[in-house]
Protein backbone atom coordinates (compact mmCIF):
# COMPACT_ATOMS: atom_id res chain seq x y z
CA UNK A 1 0.00 0.00 0.00
CA UNK A 2 1.35 3.41 -0.94
CA UNK A 3 1.29 5.52 2.20
CA UNK A 4 2.88 8.57 0.65
CA UNK A 5 0.82 11.55 -0.32
CA UNK A 6 2.22 14.46 -2.25
CA UNK A 7 2.28 17.80 -0.48
CA UNK A 8 3.72 20.27 -2.97
CA UNK A 9 6.96 18.77 -4.20
CA UNK A 10 7.88 17.11 -0.92
CA UNK A 11 6.50 13.62 -0.25
CA UNK A 12 5.00 13.39 3.23
CA UNK A 13 4.28 10.05 4.83
CA UNK A 14 0.64 9.75 5.94
CA UNK A 15 0.50 9.87 9.76
CA UNK A 16 4.18 10.77 9.66
CA UNK A 17 4.18 12.61 13.00
CA UNK A 18 2.89 9.46 14.67
CA UNK A 19 5.73 7.35 13.31
CA UNK A 20 8.17 10.20 14.01
CA UNK A 21 7.25 10.33 17.72
CA UNK A 22 7.17 6.52 18.01
CA UNK A 23 10.94 6.66 18.47
CA UNK A 24 11.56 6.95 22.27
CA UNK A 25 14.66 9.19 21.90
CA UNK A 26 12.80 11.55 19.57
CA UNK A 27 9.77 11.56 21.89
CA UNK A 28 12.03 12.55 24.78
CA UNK A 29 13.55 15.41 22.76
CA UNK A 30 10.04 16.83 22.21
CA UNK A 31 8.50 15.91 25.58
CA UNK A 32 11.21 17.03 28.04
CA UNK A 33 11.21 20.76 27.13
CA UNK A 34 7.40 20.74 26.72
CA UNK A 35 6.62 19.13 30.07
CA UNK A 36 7.26 22.14 32.41
CA UNK A 37 5.04 24.38 30.26
CA UNK A 38 2.33 21.75 30.00
CA UNK A 39 2.37 21.15 33.76
CA UNK A 40 2.33 24.87 34.58
CA UNK A 41 -0.63 25.62 32.29
CA UNK A 42 -2.49 22.53 33.58
CA UNK A 43 -1.95 23.62 37.20
CA UNK A 44 -3.10 27.16 36.48
CA UNK A 45 -6.25 26.06 34.64
CA UNK A 46 -7.12 23.45 37.29
CA UNK A 47 -6.77 26.02 40.10
CA UNK A 48 -8.82 28.66 38.23
CA UNK A 49 -11.53 26.16 37.18
CA UNK A 50 -11.83 24.54 40.62
CA UNK A 51 -11.85 27.82 42.60
CA UNK A 52 -14.31 29.39 40.14
CA UNK A 53 -16.62 26.36 40.30
CA UNK A 54 -16.39 25.98 44.09
CA UNK A 55 -16.70 29.61 45.20
CA UNK A 56 -17.61 32.01 42.38
CA UNK A 57 -20.00 30.31 39.93
CA UNK A 58 -23.70 30.81 40.70
CA UNK A 59 -25.78 28.06 42.30
CA UNK A 60 -28.15 26.19 40.00
CA UNK A 61 -31.80 27.31 40.16
CA UNK A 62 -32.99 23.72 40.61
CA UNK A 63 -30.11 21.79 42.25
CA UNK A 64 -28.72 24.67 44.31
CA UNK A 65 -25.10 24.47 45.45
CA UNK A 66 -24.94 20.69 44.86
CA UNK A 67 -24.55 21.44 41.13
CA UNK A 68 -21.04 22.74 41.92
CA UNK A 69 -19.88 19.13 41.97
CA UNK A 70 -20.19 19.11 38.16
CA UNK A 71 -17.05 21.29 37.87
CA UNK A 72 -14.96 18.33 38.98
CA UNK A 73 -17.27 15.41 38.13
CA UNK A 74 -17.87 16.22 34.45
CA UNK A 75 -14.19 16.96 33.57
CA UNK A 76 -13.10 13.76 35.34
CA UNK A 77 -15.71 11.77 33.38
CA UNK A 78 -14.61 13.25 30.04
CA UNK A 79 -10.93 12.64 30.77
CA UNK A 80 -11.72 9.06 31.84
CA UNK A 81 -13.43 8.38 28.49
CA UNK A 82 -10.89 10.19 26.29
CA UNK A 83 -8.10 8.49 28.26
CA UNK A 84 -9.59 5.10 27.48
CA UNK A 85 -9.90 6.07 23.80
CA UNK A 86 -6.19 6.99 23.87
CA UNK A 87 -5.46 3.63 25.52
CA UNK A 88 -7.35 1.84 22.73
CA UNK A 89 -5.47 3.82 20.03
CA UNK A 90 -2.12 2.94 21.66
CA UNK A 91 -3.21 -0.71 21.78
CA UNK A 92 -4.09 -0.60 18.08
CA UNK A 93 -0.70 0.97 17.26
CA UNK A 94 0.98 -1.71 19.36
CA UNK A 95 -0.81 -4.59 17.64
CA UNK A 96 -0.67 -3.26 14.06
CA UNK A 97 2.66 -1.39 13.88
CA UNK A 98 4.47 -2.74 16.96
CA UNK A 99 5.46 0.79 17.92
CA UNK A 100 7.86 0.51 20.88
CA UNK A 101 6.38 3.59 22.49
CA UNK A 102 2.74 2.46 22.14
CA UNK A 103 3.11 -0.28 24.77
CA UNK A 104 4.83 2.11 27.19
CA UNK A 105 2.13 4.75 26.61
CA UNK A 106 -0.68 2.23 27.17
CA UNK A 107 0.99 1.00 30.37
CA UNK A 108 1.28 4.55 31.72
CA UNK A 109 -2.21 5.72 30.65
CA UNK A 110 -3.89 2.85 32.56
CA UNK A 111 -3.30 3.90 36.21
CA UNK A 112 -3.87 7.61 35.51
CA UNK A 113 -7.10 6.89 33.63
CA UNK A 114 -8.27 4.59 36.42
CA UNK A 115 -7.65 7.44 38.91
CA UNK A 116 -9.74 9.92 36.92
CA UNK A 117 -12.52 7.31 36.58
CA UNK A 118 -12.45 6.79 40.36
CA UNK A 119 -12.74 10.57 40.88
CA UNK A 120 -15.71 10.61 38.50
CA UNK A 121 -17.44 7.74 40.34
CA UNK A 122 -16.78 9.12 43.84
CA UNK A 123 -17.80 12.71 43.02
CA UNK A 124 -20.90 11.39 41.22
CA UNK A 125 -21.86 9.33 44.28
CA UNK A 126 -21.39 12.39 46.50
CA UNK A 127 -23.70 14.34 44.20
CA UNK A 128 -26.24 11.47 44.13
CA UNK A 129 -26.83 11.39 47.88
CA UNK A 130 -28.29 14.92 48.28
CA UNK A 131 -29.99 14.85 44.83
CA UNK A 132 -31.33 11.27 44.54
CA UNK A 133 -31.18 10.20 48.17
CA UNK A 134 -28.72 7.39 47.34
CA UNK A 135 -24.98 7.16 46.76
CA UNK A 136 -25.42 4.55 44.05
CA UNK A 137 -28.13 3.26 41.71
CA UNK A 138 -27.70 0.59 39.02
CA UNK A 139 -28.40 3.13 36.31
CA UNK A 140 -27.07 2.53 32.75
CA UNK A 141 -24.67 5.52 32.86
CA UNK A 142 -23.29 4.71 36.32
CA UNK A 143 -22.93 1.00 35.56
CA UNK A 144 -21.17 1.58 32.22
CA UNK A 145 -18.69 3.97 33.90
CA UNK A 146 -18.10 1.37 36.64
CA UNK A 147 -17.33 -1.15 33.86
CA UNK A 148 -14.88 1.42 32.40
CA UNK A 149 -13.15 1.55 35.80
CA UNK A 150 -12.88 -2.26 35.88
CA UNK A 151 -11.53 -2.26 32.30
CA UNK A 152 -8.80 0.15 33.36
CA UNK A 153 -7.96 -2.02 36.39
CA UNK A 154 -8.01 -5.15 34.21
CA UNK A 155 -5.59 -3.51 31.79
CA UNK A 156 -3.23 -2.48 34.61
CA UNK A 157 -3.33 -6.00 36.09
CA UNK A 158 -3.03 -7.88 32.79
CA UNK A 159 0.19 -6.10 31.75
CA UNK A 160 1.79 -7.30 34.99
CA UNK A 161 0.26 -10.80 34.94
CA UNK A 162 2.83 -12.48 32.65
CA UNK A 163 6.48 -13.33 33.22
CA UNK A 164 7.16 -12.29 29.64
CA UNK A 165 6.22 -8.61 29.49
CA UNK A 166 5.55 -8.75 25.72
CA UNK A 167 2.76 -11.27 26.36
CA UNK A 168 1.27 -8.94 28.98
CA UNK A 169 1.33 -6.02 26.55
CA UNK A 170 -0.37 -8.11 23.85
CA UNK A 171 -3.12 -9.46 26.17
CA UNK A 172 -3.76 -6.00 27.66
CA UNK A 173 -3.94 -4.45 24.18
CA UNK A 174 -6.60 -6.98 23.13
CA UNK A 175 -8.58 -6.25 26.32
CA UNK A 176 -8.31 -2.48 25.70
CA UNK A 177 -9.55 -2.82 22.11
CA UNK A 178 -12.45 -5.09 23.09
CA UNK A 179 -13.35 -2.74 25.95
CA UNK A 180 -13.54 0.25 23.59
CA UNK A 181 -17.06 -0.89 22.72
CA UNK A 182 -18.04 0.44 26.16
CA UNK A 183 -17.28 4.06 25.16
CA UNK A 184 -20.31 4.63 22.88
CA UNK A 185 -22.42 2.77 25.45
CA UNK A 186 -21.38 5.32 28.11
CA UNK A 187 -22.01 8.30 25.81
CA UNK A 188 -25.41 7.14 24.52
CA UNK A 189 -26.62 5.32 27.65
CA UNK A 190 -28.70 8.36 28.67
CA UNK A 191 -30.46 8.28 25.30
CA UNK A 192 -30.84 4.52 24.79
CA UNK A 193 -32.29 3.80 28.24
CA UNK A 194 -34.43 5.63 30.77
CA UNK A 195 -31.77 6.66 33.25
CA UNK A 196 -31.82 8.50 36.54
CA UNK A 197 -28.62 10.21 35.41
CA UNK A 198 -29.41 13.43 33.57
CA UNK A 199 -28.96 13.69 29.80
CA UNK A 200 -26.08 15.39 28.01
CA UNK A 201 -25.92 19.08 28.94
CA UNK A 202 -23.22 19.90 26.40
CA UNK A 203 -22.88 18.36 22.96
CA UNK A 204 -20.73 19.22 19.97
CA UNK A 205 -23.76 19.46 17.68
CA UNK A 206 -26.47 20.83 19.96
CA UNK A 207 -24.52 23.49 21.89
CA UNK A 208 -24.72 23.97 25.66
CA UNK A 209 -27.86 23.96 27.79
CA UNK A 210 -26.26 25.77 30.72
CA UNK A 211 -25.81 29.47 31.36
CA UNK A 212 -22.54 31.06 30.29
CA UNK A 213 -21.44 31.88 33.88
CA UNK A 214 -21.52 28.14 34.60
CA UNK A 215 -20.15 27.08 31.21
CA UNK A 216 -16.87 29.04 31.46
CA UNK A 217 -15.62 27.48 34.73
CA UNK A 218 -16.71 24.07 33.44
CA UNK A 219 -14.70 24.49 30.22
CA UNK A 220 -11.65 25.87 32.07
CA UNK A 221 -11.76 23.04 34.58
CA UNK A 222 -12.16 20.53 31.73
CA UNK A 223 -9.16 21.93 29.85
CA UNK A 224 -7.15 21.87 33.08
CA UNK A 225 -8.06 18.23 33.75
CA UNK A 226 -7.18 17.25 30.16
CA UNK A 227 -3.79 18.98 30.33
CA UNK A 228 -3.14 17.49 33.79
CA UNK A 229 -3.88 14.03 32.38
CA UNK A 230 -1.55 14.61 29.40
CA UNK A 231 1.20 16.04 31.63
CA UNK A 232 1.01 13.09 34.05
CA UNK A 233 1.05 10.53 31.24
CA UNK A 234 3.93 12.26 29.40
CA UNK A 235 5.93 12.49 32.66
CA UNK A 236 5.32 8.79 33.32
CA UNK A 237 6.27 7.81 29.74
CA UNK A 238 9.52 9.83 30.01
CA UNK A 239 10.21 8.17 33.36
CA UNK A 240 9.59 4.70 31.90
CA UNK A 241 11.93 5.43 28.97
CA UNK A 242 14.63 6.69 31.38
CA UNK A 243 14.20 3.61 33.60
CA UNK A 244 14.72 1.31 30.60
CA UNK A 245 17.75 3.28 29.45
CA UNK A 246 19.19 3.12 32.99
CA UNK A 247 18.70 -0.65 33.12
CA UNK A 248 20.44 -1.02 29.73
CA UNK A 249 23.31 1.27 30.78
CA UNK A 250 23.83 -0.61 34.04
CA UNK A 251 23.71 -3.97 32.21
CA UNK A 252 26.24 -2.77 29.64
CA UNK A 253 28.52 -1.49 32.43
CA UNK A 254 28.26 -4.85 34.27
CA UNK A 255 29.11 -6.74 31.05
CA UNK A 256 32.13 -4.50 30.46
CA UNK A 257 33.39 -5.23 33.97
CA UNK A 258 32.83 -9.01 33.63
Amino acid sequence: MNEEVLSGTRPVRAGGWLHYLANPARFMRVAVPTLPWLSGIALLLCVVGIVWGYAIAPADWEQGDAARIMYVHVPAAWVAMVGYAALAVCSLLSIVWRHPLADIAAEEIGPVGAGFTAVCLISGSLWGKPMWGAYWVWDARLTSVLILFFLYLGHVALIRAFDNKAHGYRAAAILALAGAVNLPIIVYSVQWWNTLHQGNTISLSGGAKIYITMLYPLLISTLGFYLAFIAMVVARICAAICERKTASALLAAAERRA
Binding site: D65, R68, V72, V119, S123, L126, A235, C238, A239, A249
Partner: protein, 42 residues
Protein backbone atom coordinates in the same frame (compact mmCIF):
# COMPACT_ATOMS: atom_id res chain seq x y z
CA UNK B 1 -30.19 18.13 53.29
CA UNK B 2 -27.12 20.36 53.59
CA UNK B 3 -25.12 19.69 50.36
CA UNK B 4 -21.85 21.29 51.51
CA UNK B 5 -20.29 18.19 53.14
CA UNK B 6 -20.87 16.36 49.83
CA UNK B 7 -19.50 19.28 47.77
CA UNK B 8 -16.43 19.52 50.03
CA UNK B 9 -15.96 15.75 49.77
CA UNK B 10 -16.12 15.77 45.96
CA UNK B 11 -13.69 18.69 45.67
CA UNK B 12 -11.44 17.20 48.34
CA UNK B 13 -11.18 13.86 46.52
CA UNK B 14 -10.52 15.59 43.19
CA UNK B 15 -7.85 17.97 44.50
CA UNK B 16 -6.22 15.18 46.52
CA UNK B 17 -6.10 12.92 43.48
CA UNK B 18 -4.66 15.63 41.21
CA UNK B 19 -2.04 16.58 43.81
CA UNK B 20 -1.02 13.01 44.73
CA UNK B 21 -1.09 11.55 41.19
CA UNK B 22 0.70 14.60 39.77
CA UNK B 23 3.24 14.62 42.60
CA UNK B 24 3.99 10.91 42.27
CA UNK B 25 4.28 11.12 38.47
CA UNK B 26 6.72 14.03 38.57
CA UNK B 27 8.70 12.54 41.48
CA UNK B 28 9.13 9.34 39.45
CA UNK B 29 10.13 11.38 36.38
CA UNK B 30 12.77 13.37 38.28
CA UNK B 31 14.12 10.23 40.00
CA UNK B 32 14.34 8.36 36.67
CA UNK B 33 16.19 11.26 34.99
CA UNK B 34 18.62 11.52 37.93
CA UNK B 35 19.35 7.77 37.92
CA UNK B 36 19.86 7.75 34.13
CA UNK B 37 22.33 10.64 34.37
CA UNK B 38 24.23 8.78 37.14
CA UNK B 39 24.25 5.51 35.17
CA UNK B 40 25.51 7.22 32.02
CA UNK B 41 28.27 8.93 34.00
CA UNK B 42 29.38 5.67 35.64
Amino acid sequence: MNPWPFINGAYGVSVLFLAVAGGLSFARYRRARRRLAAAEKA
